[in-house]
């Protein structure tokens, strides 16, 4: 009881003086939203100060699944860091994997064949579609519409089957290697991909029919948790959340990587930065991703070459038959497996457009076998701090849809 009082007093101190004065007359209630409430979709807590159903203030607590990624990275060879990146935003692990590999490739100055780049784009855009599907359908769930969620999860399942046929894993994929793919995609993968491309538009159109012009859904989401473009920039928003606020910043266009400059796609932009805008921006981005995948498939179809990795023997494991019969391949194999490859000295920042925004890797190498320092710029971590400002004065139910529309993924938040 005494503790609760302490907490209350503490919160009084943190609020602005004019609200603190009002507090003396009014009795506020403290509500714990999370850490294990189903509506938070992850392990994080919000201590809400409520006036009836209106949120007066909130204090987020994070770090419940902190796993010391940055410290771990300082003791691992570069190829062993990939599984760590899987666990950042686990709804779109391939983007994290490939982003990390491109960081290393940038540091060691490697040229990656075009075909590999297009294959990477296909995988990254599939991951973006999967991530946006989860986010958008979950906004529906939190607004009380479960149907759409179940419906698009079938398509997400098909995307996971494509991952599975490439790398064997589904959620934490560890897909891709430094230099390219571990093996060429099989006919099964291509068949699955083409089938997905054929079936997906109809499903997404039907999903949109359920929600986009749905009166109840619109009433619940329009005006919920808005943020202005100015505030969003000041808060370091990136990705769909920033674009919903009206800023057309997309890393794929601004600093193209992986030959994104060869593709034509739309960057949807919102106006109010509220939950509905975020939903719509993601919805349009799914279509943009779909068109990028189509373009990439067409490009690959026209290519005569069949390479699936670049020439980086220091990092890319040689095929087994060579390891057994060839001295050089054996040496490389040993060095990679034992983590004995040195990396040139350097300091580098590489960003990719993750499903949630600019996913950056700040890598400092002192010429050793492991990074000297690796900092992950996690978009979730950075924009989640705006949450109290976005829900202040809103209803509790608005706070829930705002949280799901921000797409805060606990793995990325806590790292």
């Amino acid at each position: 009881m005494a503790q609760a009082k302490d907490k209350k007093e503490k919160m009084v101190q943190q609020t602005a003086p004019e609200t603190a004065e009002k507090l003396d007359e009014k009795e506020y209630s403290i509500l714990n939203l999370g850490p294990t409430h189903p509506a938070t979709h992850g392990v994080f807590q919000n201590i809400l100060k409520m006036d009836g159903e209106i949120i007066v203030d909130s204090e987020p607590t994070i770090g419940f699944i902190h796993r010391a990624f940055e410290k771990l990275s300082e003791r691992r060879p570069y190829n062993q860091i990939t599984p760590i990146t899987d666990r950042l935003n686990y709804c779109s692990s391939p983007i994290n994997n490939i982003g990390w590999h491109m960081t290393v490739e940038k540091l060691i100055d490697t040229k990656i064949p075009k075909r590999v780049q297009y294959m990477r784009i296909i995988i990254m855009e599939l991951a973006r579609i999967a991530d946006h599907l989860v986010c958008n359908s979950v906004i529906g769930v939190d607004a009380g519409a479960l149907t759409g969620f179940v419906y698009v999860f079938e398509e997400r399942e098909k995307i996971y089957e494509i991952y599975e046929s490439i790398c064997g894993a589904r959620l934490t994929t560890n897909i891709d290697r430094i230099g390219g793919f571990e093996r060429d995609w099989s006919d099964v993968t291509w068949a699955k991909l083409r089938k997905f491309m054929k079936d997906f538009p109809a499903v997404l159109k039907e999903f949109e029919k359920l929600l986009v012009r749905n009166r109840i859904f619109m009433d619940r989401t329009i005006g919920a948790g808005p943020i202005s473009a100015d505030r969003a920039l000041n808060y370091g928003f990136t990705g769909p959340n920033l674009r919903a606020a009206g800023v057309d910043y997309d890393v794929r266009v601004m600093n193209p990587y992986c030959s994104y400059e060869e593709f034509t796609f739309d960057i949807p932009v919102g106006t109010h930065g509220d939950t509905y805008d975020r939903f719509m921006v993601r919805e349009h981005e799914i279509w943009a991703s779909y068109s990028i995948i189509q373009q990439a498939i067409d490009k690959i179809d026209k290519m005569p070459e069949k390479d699936f990795h670049g020439n980086v023997p220091d990092f890319y494991l040689p095929p087994k038959e060579e390891v057994y019969n060839n001295m050089e391949a054996l040496i490389y194999h040993f060095k990679i497996v034992m983590g004995e490859t040195n990396i040139p000295k350097g300091e580098i920042y590489h960003a990719v457009e993750g499903a949630n925004g600019e996913l950056g890797f700040y890598l400092v190498s002192d010429g050793g076998r492991t990074p000297y320092r690796l900092h992950y710029r996690r978009p979730c971590f950075i924009y989640y701090q705006a949450y109290p400002e976005m829900i202040r004065g809103n209803m509790l139910s608005d706070a829930i849809v705002t949280l799901s529309s921000l797409n805060v993924i606990a793995g990325e938040l806590d790292a």
Binding site: G236, M254, E347, R373
Partner: protein, 167 residues
């Protein structure tokens, strides 16, 4: 990308003179090392100056070089001019026992959690920060885990020996 290093360097040197310790081009971005107490002025200048307009703080993180006596700790800022697509990196270095840095929350709201994270892992205190406390680790961790001397594993364990591979 055009060569932006001389443009920014001349602007900064003109205004801040000695506070700019070094300016160089790294592999990707221009890097400026700045004296610690001037960092906020420099960022504010870069934010306001019509030709610069670095209005986006991409990243802020700490770094530890235990062998760099007198300059063991560092904070690294990544700024982005979204209009012209210029990215730069600012660095400050200072001694372990002098790890108080002025806060950037006065310019960027986003610096709030980034600075808390830096404090949490490196013990760098940001002066003027509204809520300077740990963010990801438990409050009674005792120590700052990203400092190089902080052990990755439980030091009492004897069943793991990596020494033969030079790690």
């Amino acid at each position: 990308m055009e060569d932006i290093l001389p443009v920014i360097e001349s602007k900064l040197r003109e205004t801040f003179g000695d506070a700019i310790v070094s300016a160089e081009m790294s592999k990707d971005f221009p890097v400026f090392t700045i004296k610690k107490d001037k960092i906020i002025d420099v960022v504010k200048f870069l934010y306001d100056e019509p030709e610069m307009q670095f209005r986006f703080l991409t990243d802020l993180c700490g770094i530890h070089f235990p062998d760099n006596k007198g300059q063991e700790l560092g904070v690294i800022y990544h700024l982005h001019n979204l209009r012209r697509n210029w990215r730069i990196r600012l660095r400050i270095f200072f001694a372990l026992n002098d790890s108080v840095v002025p806060t950037l929350t006065t310019v960027f709201s986003t610096a709030n959690w980034m600075e808390r994270e830096t404090y949490d892992f490196f013990g760098i205190t940001f002066k003027g920060h509204p809520n300077m406390k740990r963010i990801l680790n438990v409050d009674d961790l005792g120590g700052f885990p990203m400092l190089k001397e902080f052990p990755l594993e439980d030091p009492t364990r004897t069943d793991k020996n990596d020494s033969m591979f030079g790690r």
